[in-house]
């Protein structure tokens, strides 16, 4: 499917989506609250069929968090990046997509570990790399550690 047609199709599912100009992939920005319904439709609709979750990650923009979901369709060979904005920086949380793509299990645990973003509906949300008692979340921009040295 051509990029424009793909955008229109996705807009018909989620009218609030804002597409960015330029960029390597089609970048669609949404609010974190509408994520799970959209993702289910993106995977299950045959014309879209985003069956492969390449990667999901988080970026701390200080005023908000943004979750990046890089999706790929192995049948249609098209790609999409969904950027879900999480405005609550005190207690960031978003719906889990583990039930749609099982690879999200490990990736969401990683984001939980390093950013402190909670995932609703994740079956086993524990820290994946760091110790259970580790203070703070290292990949946040305001993270401080007594042993850190300025480079």
């Amino acid at each position: 499917m051509e990029a424009e047609a793909l955008k229109q199709e996705i807009l018909s599912i989620e009218p609030s989506m804002v597409f960015e100009e330029g960029g390597q992939f089609i970048n669609g920005g949404i609010e974190s609250t509408v994520l799970s319904a959209l993702m289910k439709e993106l995977r299950d609709r045959p014309t879209l069929a985003f069956d492969y979750l390449v990667c999901l990650t988080c970026v701390d923009y200080k005023t908000h968090f943004t979750m990046f979901y890089q999706l790929r369709s192995l049948t249609h060979r098209h790609e999409l990046v969904i950027k879900a904005k999480i405005s609550n920086i005190e207690h960031p949380a978003i719906d889990s997509v583990t039930s749609l793509w099982r690879t999200a299990d490990f990736h969401e645990r990683e984001v939980f570990d390093l950013f402190g973003v909670k995932f609703y509906g994740h079956p086993d949300l524990r820290r994946i790399f760091l110790d259970e008692n580790w203070p703070g979340f290292p990949l946040r921009k305001n993270y401080e550690d007594a042993n850190m040295i300025e480079l």
């Binding site: 701390d60 099982r102 690879t103 994946i128 760091l130 290292p138």
Partner: protein, 372 residues
């Protein structure tokens, strides 16, 4: 002192910990395994023993420096990791990479893949109790490492790539030595088949062991030989060509088997494809510059830049988020091993504990790449 209830569940399942110090986990991987007799009921990887937070470190390094930290992720594909990082920066800079650099990068990447697969093949035999293959594999691997040492100055962590091209030109012996290697490797590869592939004990220990269906392979986000052995077409070199892969002819090896045997065969066939790629390029390395023009201090425009390459283990993705400064705002590595490992718990369910080792061997895990 450990009591019975500490390692036996209410259902009578016995819990053991394999690793983090265990030869068959190829690094500091810790598996918590629930056993009923010898049958694996559940397997849970515990990670983080070699977590260095490379993504955090990269945030304080320049775009030239951050490439070198990635040699320490998947150290068996160090060169290909560097390539992915350089491609992401080049994507942001829109710099033209000279043809010579592109071709040499591709040849070195294929040499790296051969070295990595050779090591995997030797270790696979070792894991299943055959010691001899290890020495055969290292015979060819040593030659590749010698070529790397001569040109790049290092045998394992090459760090030969800079944004825009290569750090320096290759050694004058490079072409001749590479040709000799490919010729010898091609002549010797039948020994690999005779030693392991044709071995009945080896076949029985891998055929039908650790099946992964196509749907599961996609759902778990696996890539590389693991996914291709389950019938998923996912070779980045084929679908999203980078550097010189658009000008070479090679086959994407796909098998429908889905078991450990299929994964084994896919990697063996991939080695033969690597010979073809190198042979097509080695005689036609263009003359000219080895690095494109970049500023001394690289600054990327605001935005996100992605690149992806096919390492020896699967798809490595790099995402750079730039705020316009001289260091990345955020770096994310989509590591192939991390996703492949997430399928392990599913694959070993119902297998015997001895098969756990065979399944892990065919996943070809490199733990520093999982933990990053």
């Amino acid at each position: 002192m450990l009591l019975d209830q500490d390692h036996i569940t209410e259902d009578g399942e016995f819990i053991i910990n394999i690793g983090p110090q265990h030869p068959s986990t190829h690094g500091v991987l810790h598996l918590k395994v629930w056993l009923d007799g010898e049958t694996v009921k559940k397997c849970e990887p515990h990670l983080g023993y070699i977590h260095r937070s490379i993504e955090k470190m990269c945030e304080s390094l320049s775009y030239r420096q951050y490439i070198f930290t990635t040699s320490r992720m998947d150290y068996l594909s160090a060169h290909i990791n560097n390539q992915a990082c350089a491609l992401a920066v080049e994507q942001g800079l829109q710099v033209e990479v000279p043809e010579r650099a592109k071709v040499i990068r591709t040849i070195l990447a294929e040499l790296t893949r051969l070295a990595s697969h050779a090591l995997w093949w030797g270790c696979m035999g070792l894991d299943l109790g055959a010691v001899t293959p290890f020495f055969y594999a290292f015979r060819e691997r040593e030659m590749i490492n010698d070529i790397m040492e001569e040109s790049c100055g290092a045998r394992l962590t090459q760090n030969f790539i800079v944004p825009g091209g290569l750090m320096m030109d290759v050694h004058p012996n490079f072409v001749q030595k590479t040709k000799e290697l490919v010729k010898l490797f091609r002549a010797n590869i039948h020994e690999y088949d005779e030693l392991l592939s044709g071995n009945v004990i080896f076949q029985q220990r891998t055929q039908g062991v650790g099946p992964l269906s196509k749907a599961d392979a996609i759902s778990f986000g696996t890539s590389g030989a693991v996914a291709r052995a389950s019938g998923v077409s996912c070779d980045v070199r084929k679908h999203y060509p980078y550097d010189a892969y658009d000008r070479v002819q090679f086959k994407e090896i796909i098998s429908e088997g889905g078991d450990s045997w299929a994964r084994y065969l896919v990697r063996i066939e991939e080695m033969k494809q690597s010979f073809d790629i190198i042979e097509q390029l080695i005689d036609s390395i263009p003359e000219g510059e080895i690095v494109g023009k970049t500023k001394a201090v690289i600054k990327l425009p605001k935005g996100e830049f992605y690149s992806r390459v096919e390492t020896a283990r699967g798809e490595l993705g790099v995402m750079l988020v730039s705020d316009g400064g001289s260091t990345p705002y955020r770096v994310k590595f989509r590591s192939p091993n991390f996703s492949n490992l997430s399928a392990l718990g599913h694959m070993v369910k119902g297998a015997k504990i001895g098969d756990l080792v065979a399944i892990m061997a065919t996943l070809d895990l490199v733990i520093p790449d999982v933990d990053r």
